[in-house]
Symmetry: C3
C-alpha cells in the first residue's frame, strides 16, 4: 500500500467564497502515482468546508443566500460562541451544512467522477491563511 | 491491497424518491471478495444523494417535507441556478443536506452496520438515468 | 495492509449531548499500530452523529439551539415517524445535519488534524446504550 499527503494553502480575501480546487487535487493525485485507492480531501479548519457540486456561479450565489438564511452572520449576539471574542459563530454552522470532507474513488490514476462533479473549498471565515489536507492511499 | 469498482444505475420515474440500495451494495461487496477494508458509495450526480438512515416510510415522508421546507422547489425564480434553463436549483441544496457519499467499514466480508443502518439513494431531480459509484479497497 | 476495528459504547443520560471522543479515538489508533492510512469513525445508530468541530461550550449550545430550530422535538405529531411509537423523529433529522461519520487521515501514527479539530459524538436520542465504530486501514 502506498500513501501520499499534501497540504493546500488558501488565503481568501473575503469572509466567504467558494473556490474550485479540482485541478489542484488532480495534481496531487498525479504526484502520488497512485492508480487505485481512495482520496480524502478535508478542510483542516472548522469554519471551512470541502464539498462536491457544480461549478456554476448562479448556484454558488444560491448556496450563499441559502446558508445566510439558515445561519445568519448577524446579529453577532445570536451566537454564544461569539462571546469568546470571535465573530464566526455562523461560520461553524455553515460549514456543518456544507460538510468537512469528501472521499473520492481513485480509478486508473484519475478522480472517478460523474460528469459535473467538481471539488470546492468553501470559506466561511476568510481573510487569513488556512489549509486543506489531501491524503491518498492505494496502489 | 485489492480494489473493486461498480456503477449502479437508476432511472427514478418521479422527481424525488428514496430507494433502499443496501442489498445491491452488499452484492458488490460479495463480488469483490474483500474481507477487511473500506467501502465508498457516492452519487455521481450533484442533484442526488447517498445516505444512511432507517427504512421507515413515515420517516422518508418526514425527510421529504423537511427538505421541501428548507429548500422549496418553487417558485423556480428563487434560484439563480434556474436561469441556466434548469429547474433543479432546489435539488442541489437538498442533496447537500442529505450528503453525497457514505463510507462503510468492511469487516469479515460484511458491511459493518449497526442494527438499523440501511443505505439509500436519494433522488432529487429524477426522470432520467443516473449513477451511483461503489468503490471498495482492502484485502 | 493492516486493519483495526473497535466499538466505543456510550450511555448518555440526557436526550441530547455532544461529547468529545478524540482521546478515545487516538487510543484506538495507538492500539492499531497503523502509521499511514485512513480512519473511519461513524455512529452505528441512526439518531446519533460523529462530527468534527471546535471544543467550545458556547458553540455547542449554539448547535443545540440551531438544530432545535431546524427540526424541533415537539410537537411530536410533526413527524409521521413518531406514529410508529417512537418520539425521535427530530433526532433522525438532526443527525442528518450533523453527519453520520468522519474520515480522518492517519500520518506518522497520528490523527492528521488542523489546530482546532476535535471529534464529537452527537447524541440526539439518548438514555440508552449506543455504539460508535472505529475502523482503521493502512500500514
Amino acid at each position: 500500500m502506498r500513501s501520499y499527503r499534501k497540504e493546500l494553502w488558501f488565503d481568501i480575501p473575503a469572509r466567504r467564497e467558494f473556490r474550485n480546487i479540482t485541478s489542484q487535487v488532480e495534481r496531487c493525485l498525479q504526484e502520488s502515482g497512485i492508480q487505485e485507492g481512495l482520496l480524502l480531501c478535508n478542510a483542516m479548519h472548522i469554519t471551512a468546508s470541502v464539498f462536491i457540486n457544480d461549478d456554476e456561479s448562479g448556484l454558488h450565489q444560491d448556496f450563499e443566500r441559502w446558508l445566510e438564511g439558515l445561519a445568519p452572520h448577524e446579529p453577532l449576539s445570536n451566537y454564544l460562541h461569539n462571546n469568546t471574542g470571535e465573530d464566526n459563530g455562523d461560520a461553524h454552522l455553515k460549514r456543518t451544512v456544507m460538510g468537512r470532507e469528501v472521499v473520492v474513488a481513485v480509478t486508473g490514476g484519475r478522480l472517478d467522477f460523474g460528469p459535473w462533479e467538481q471539488i470546492f473549498y468553501g470559506e466561511f471565515d476568510g481573510r487569513r491563511r488556512k489549509r486543506v489536507l489531501v491524503k491518498i492511499i492505494g496502489e
